[in-house]
């Protein structure tokens, strides 16, 4: 993998060391002085970590949509709602703009994030050079939009805290909201850990090799 004897700098203590010409399997490099992990540029774990978080988010996306996230009881009547039934009830009540917002923020955005991050990761791993600038923008948009999905969790948290009037009106949070929050947080982390530099890295490397 490593063909020439290169110099490595520890990011922690700044110690320079020689990298071995050949790395065996399961071997990782550590700083000889402080013991911190030292990596070559190509060895970035960004992709791996992002994949892990992304997969975790994808897994939790299932219970987040299947389980009820919130129960609203008005005058004693009410039931737990999943995201989809909540949207449906809003539509039934004629509140289609609200329904649209909830639908986009709670279902479309997390799903899009999962897909765009997966797409970016795959394209990085395939060392694609296809429309790098656009992919860069896509990444930025994803990262920026991601946190807004948290609005749902925020609303549930506030309602649960504020609306507790016994039989008159009551809002309870259900397990679904927990997994939904986990999905949002995990996708946010995934977007954060993805190193956008990698999109350009391939081109650089190839240019360097050329």
């Amino acid at each position: 993998m490593i063909k020439h004897k290169a110099l490595l700098q520890c990011r922690v203590c700044g110690c320079l060391s020689h990298a071995p010409t050949q790395l065996k399997r399961f071997e990782v490099m550590h700083c000889p002085r402080c013991g911190a992990r030292v990596k070559l540029a190509q060895q970035s774990t960004s992709v791996e970590v992002t994949w892990a978080l992304l997969i975790a988010a994808a897994i939790l996306y299932i219970p987040a949509n299947l389980l009820p996230i919130m129960s609203v009881y008005m005058l004693g009547a009410g039931q737990p709602d999943t995201i989809i039934t909540g949207v449906y009830h809003l539509l039934e009540a004629g509140q289609w703009p609200l329904a649209l917002i909830v639908f986009v923020a709670s279902i479309v955005v997390p799903l899009l994030k999962l897909f765009t991050l997966s797409f970016l990761l795959i394209s990085i791993q395939r060392r694609s050079r296809w429309r790098q600038y656009d992919r860069m923008r896509l990444y930025r948009i994803t990262e920026y939009v991601g946190r807004w999905s948290m609005v749902d969790v925020f609303v549930i948290a506030i309602l649960t805290g504020l609306v507790q009037f016994g039989n008159l009106a009551r809002v309870d949070a259900n397990l679904g909201s927990l997994s939904f929050a986990a999905v949002v947080v995990l996708t946010m982390f995934a977007a954060r850990t993805l190193d956008e530099h990698l999109i350009w890295d391939i081109a650089q490397q190839e240019e360097a090799q050329a």
Binding site: E27, A52, Q79
Partner: protein
């Protein structure tokens, strides 16, 4: 960097370590996987059975909203409503909780609890808002099934409770409902658990549940009465006020008691039937099966007598007026008012039967028993029929007629007494008014003055006459003069006395004299009071509820 190039060879080699495990970041998806599986498994595991319950109407049931409750705990929810194939029933698809699903039996029952003021107490404002729900009883056996028939009404009582069930027969349901309390000595000991209209008897049968240990107070001769509302009885013995409890006033109830005079008897068996009396007074009357019907004709007015008025013997009720009507003979235009009464001869002797009772009555009439009208209260004009032994009455007997035997009656001065009393009152009032007018006009004063003057003049005239007589008759008529003298003396005395009394009357009846004023005021108040009392009794008769709610 460039200057340091020479040191490059002195640099240490990087330390190499083995790392066989993948990055610990993969623990996150692993945990997510576990959590996700756990959540879904739990959701699936918690899911109870889905059953179908058939109801005759979907009123108050909303799919997705209506809950199923057992002992006020929500144990399920209606998922869907659909009509059955013949459009006769609706079928509610209900998803139940796991716990209740485990205990669901084939004899489980479901019923719709619609919003209403709950009989068994005020169960929180929440139920007013929460709307209908489906009540359920999971039943006893553990074989579940997926199709049930919903009941129209809640089932009777939780079978776990210890107690006995009794039946009550009533003419009408009144304000009873399932859940109406049953009181014993003003203690709630049970409730009405069911009622139905008996097809062939045109009566309502109420089913009671009386909890242990109170059912042992139900004996064969226990009396049950409707304790709803407030009972106010006004009769000759005064006013009686009776109220079982505030709850029974509002929602109705039944009370029972074993009369003190009656022997205890056996503790009643489950399922015994009793009569539900209309009120306490009704229940306390002795009930005898034998009734002898007689018709009575009274000479005077029967005002003040109603259907239900008592027939008394020496002040004790032995029967009641059953009917009062008017009959006219078309030929002679004789209008008569036959009063139909019944007499329960067993009041005289419990061993009497219908036949022996009739014979006994006949003998009593031959001995002088007659019926007459008696006034119970001058105030209300209420009347009863009194049977009494007349001394030396004209001979009479019970005459058998086409329908009922005719019982001989006798008139009584008392009959007219209330009217006489009323007449006296009226004339007294008039007289007083007249006096008042006279006194007010000042004529009386003048008359008395004049009378005084006349009397004074008369006295003077008598004196003058005396003088004349003295002079004239000094010699001629000495004996006669003495007599005249004596007479004139007497006359004078009398005159003086009259004058004295007149003066007193004058003072008494003088305008603004306290006595006269007080008398007038008192009479006015008596009149007003009796009028008010009469209007009160009338109002109470018409609207007994006004006692509670006001007019």
């Amino acid at each position: 960097m460039n200057e340091n190039k020479g040191f490059a060879d002195n640099l240490p080699d990087v330390e190499l370590r083995e790392q066989r495990w993948p990055s610990p970041v993969w623990l996150i998806p692993l945990a997510a996987l576990l959590i996700g599986f756990w959540l879904l498994f739990q959701a699936w595991y918690e899911r109870g059975p889905t059953i179908t319950v058939q109801f005759s109407s979907a009123e108050g049931i909303e799919p997705g909203k209506t809950e199923v409750r057992y002992k006020a705990v929500t144990v399920g929810k209606v998922k869907k409503l659909k009509l059955d194939n013949e459009l006769k029933y609706i079928e509610a698809i209900i998803e139940l909780n796991k716990e209740i699903g485990r205990h669901l039996g084939t004899n489980a029952s479901f019923w719709v609890v619609r919003p209403r003021v709950n009989r068994s107490g005020v169960s929180g404002l929440g139920t007013l808002f929460s709307g209908s729900y489906i009540g359920m009883d999971p039943g006893t056996d553990n074989d579940d099934q997926s199709f049930y028939k919903g009941a129209e009404r809640p089932p009777v009582i939780a079978p776990a409770e210890d107690g006995k069930r009794f039946f009550l027969m009533s003419d009408s349901l009144g304000s009873m409902d399932v859940g109406a309390p049953v009181f014993y000595k003003q203690l709630q000991v049970g409730e009405v658990i069911d009622y139905e209209l008996l097809d062939n008897q045109d009566r309502v049968q109420l089913e009671l549940f009386i909890r242990a240990p109170y059912f042992q107070y139900v004996h064969d001769n226990t009396r049950f009465w409707n304790a709803s509302g407030v009972e106010l009885n006004m009769n000759s013995t005064g006013a009686e006020f009776r109220m079982e409890s505030l709850i029974s006033v509002i929602i109705g109830g039944i009370a029972f008691e074993t009369p003190a005079g009656v022997a205890g008897g056996e503790v009643s068996k489950q399922g015994d039937t009793f009569v539900l009396h209309r009120n306490y007074a009704d229940s306390q009357e002795k009930q005898y099966a034998t009734r002898l019907y007689y018709v009575m004709y009274f000479d005077g007015s029967v005002r003040g007598m109603d259907v239900g008025s008592d027939v008394e013997f020496q002040g004790l009720p032995i029967g009641k007026v059953e009917n009062i009507e008017m009959k006219m003979d078309k030929d002679s235009l004789d209008v008569r008012v036959p009063v139909l009464v019944y007499i329960q001869p067993q009041y005289f002797d419990e061993s009497l039967t219908k036949e022996t009772g009739e014979i006994a009555m006949r003998k009593l009439v031959e001995k002088g028993m007659r019926a007459k009208l008696d006034t119970v209260s001058f105030l209300t004009g209420q009347k009863v029929i009194t049977l009494s032994m007349e001394t030396d009455p004209p001979p009479a007997s019970i005459k058998a007629t086409q329908f009922y035997s005719e019982f001989p009656t006798t008139g009584t001065a008392f009959e007219e007494l209330p009217f006489i009393a009323a007449d006296i009152m009226i004339s007294l009032d008039e007289t007083l008014a007249g006096i008042n007018k006279l006194v007010n006009s000042g004529k009386l004063d003048k008359t008395v003055d004049n009378l005084n003057k006349v009397l004074a003049e008369a006295e003077q005239a008598v004196k003058a006459a005396k003088e004349t007589l003295k002079t004239v008759d000094k010699n001629t008529l000495p004996s006669m003069t003495n007599d005249v003298n004596k007479i004139s003396q007497d006359l004078s005395n009398t005159m003086q006395k009259i004058q004295g009394s007149m003066g007193q009357i004058d003072r008494l009846t003088a305008q603004n004299s306290p006595t006269q004023h007080q008398l007038q005021e008192m009479l006015e108040e008596v009149t007003a009071a009796s009028r008010a009392l009469r209007s009160l009794t009338e109002t109470l008769q018409r609207q007994p509820s006004s006692l509670l709610r006001g007019k």
